[in-house]
Symmetry: C2
Subunit: 264 residues, 2 copies
């Protein structure tokens, strides 16, 4: 339903069915992951650090072993659990109750809600602009090409907390490039309007003083440092589909990351 | 050789042999991971995104399949590669050439070297201090207990770039609590003087203006935002062993993180 104009592939192709496969599995998979997170939180609160067996979990959650295993792998990647061959799967106790995990997928509406706020979002601006050289390089298209630019502000119980600007190349978009609903995450937008979902994002993490328009939007002084995350979102076929630059006021949303060293 | 006084275990025990197992495998494992990183970089530069099979890799690197598989899992966790069942292992092309990865283990000497600097380090201060409430809570011991505090400055080609303060509880240390060599990483110190290596660290990531002593040590104005990482280091038996607070001048060392969404 969306006409997609592919740029010439710069790389040897990955298996062609991958993107389709991802699209089919992503929803069920995310639901299972959310439910596993709840299980982990509950067990952790009870001081029980060992997860039930895969057989028990797949029965309890009503999902296949394959889906369950994918979700467990992903939680292990994020540092929430560790799997010890011959011993079972254990909760990383000190990762319990952590705030937003930098290595996790996260829509800001969800992250703010999980941080205990009432999350709202408004679209500040939505238009088509030419890409600057830096952004175009990340998207692997010529500078000056058009992109849909979406500027949003996410609020925590009414206070502006996160300023976000997405750029989607117009060449990847179809008929109506202005169809984003404010509450839709960047990932949902990609799945709905571009096609195969985001597979991974590379995010540069920097401490910055706010640019003037961000200070205004977040109602903070120009001297307050913010966390700036500049994401390049990549599909399974290594196609970059969007750049998202986010400024976070960490009074409302604090990130952590779990660094793991040993894998048994 | 080091007398270790365990605090009372707060949690149900993990398998008792785990820590020993980690200590034995960690060195070989880290070497394999470093060599795999080189392989990935070289293949990536040649535009080849598919890794050789496990059999070929384990022969080429001269390591067991089990060790190889652990190292591959860890690189997948960090977002460097992805393993697709039935298709093989692929390099995440857009993660190539990334700077320091926030989700990876990293000694600052290595991180600065990899960023192209000549890395040096000096110990600014080393002494025993009482723990404040916040730090004691992270280490799960009473406030006021003594800790070895080590303050260091890592320089990039002569310019101070990273300010680091470790706190190790004295109750976990043995005979000579002042034995840290400046070039020794926090992780090496734990392995040598406390015992089982660090299994994972929980790091809070914040943008901050520098405290006065950090601004002085890094020779920067009080208005320059820094990345502040506050780590709690955890052993395999869930014992917290150290807190490390680091301030990074990101002119010299820039962090990224790879956020992964789908696991096939």
């Amino acid at each position: 339903m969306v006409t997609r104009i592919h740029p010439e592939p710069a790389q040897p192709a990955l298996p062609a069915d991958l993107a389709a496969l991802s699209a089919i599995t992503s929803d069920a998979y995310r639901q299972v992951k959310d439910r596993l997170r709840e299980v982990i939180t509950r067990l952790g609160e009870e001081g029980r650090l060992r997860l039930p067996s895969e057989a028990e979990l797949s029965t309890a959650l009503g999902v296949s072993r394959a889906t369950l295993r994918s979700a467990l792998q992903s939680l292990q990647k994020e540092g929430r659990i560790r799997r010890l061959h011959g011993h079972g799967t254990f909760i990383n106790r000190h990762a319990l109750g952590l705030g937003a995990n930098l290595a996790e997928a996260g829509a800001f509406m969800d992250l703010l809600t999980e941080a205990g706020h009432q999350a709202t979002v408004s679209t500040a601006d939505q238009r088509v602009v030419p890409l600057d050289a830096d952004m175009a390089a990340s998207l692997e298209i010529p500078a000056g090409e058009q992109a849909l630019r979406i500027e949003r502000v996410f609020a925590a119980s009414g206070a502006p907390a996160v300023h976000s600007v997405d750029h989607f190349p117009v060449r990847l978009l179809g008929d109506d490039p202005r169809a984003l609903e404010a509450t839709q995450s960047t990932f949902e937008f990609v799945e709905r309007h571009i096609g195969p979902p985001v597979c991974y994002s590379v995010a540069e993490v920097r401490p910055v003083l706010p640019p003037a328009e961000v200070a205004t939007a977040l109602k903070i002084p120009a001297t307050q440092p913010l966390l700036r995350l500049r994401h390049t979102h990549i599909q399974a076929d290594e196609q970059p589909v969007a750049v998202t630059v986010v400024h976070v006021n960490d009074e409302y949303l604090r990130f952590s990351v779990i660094r793991t060293y040993l894998d048994e």
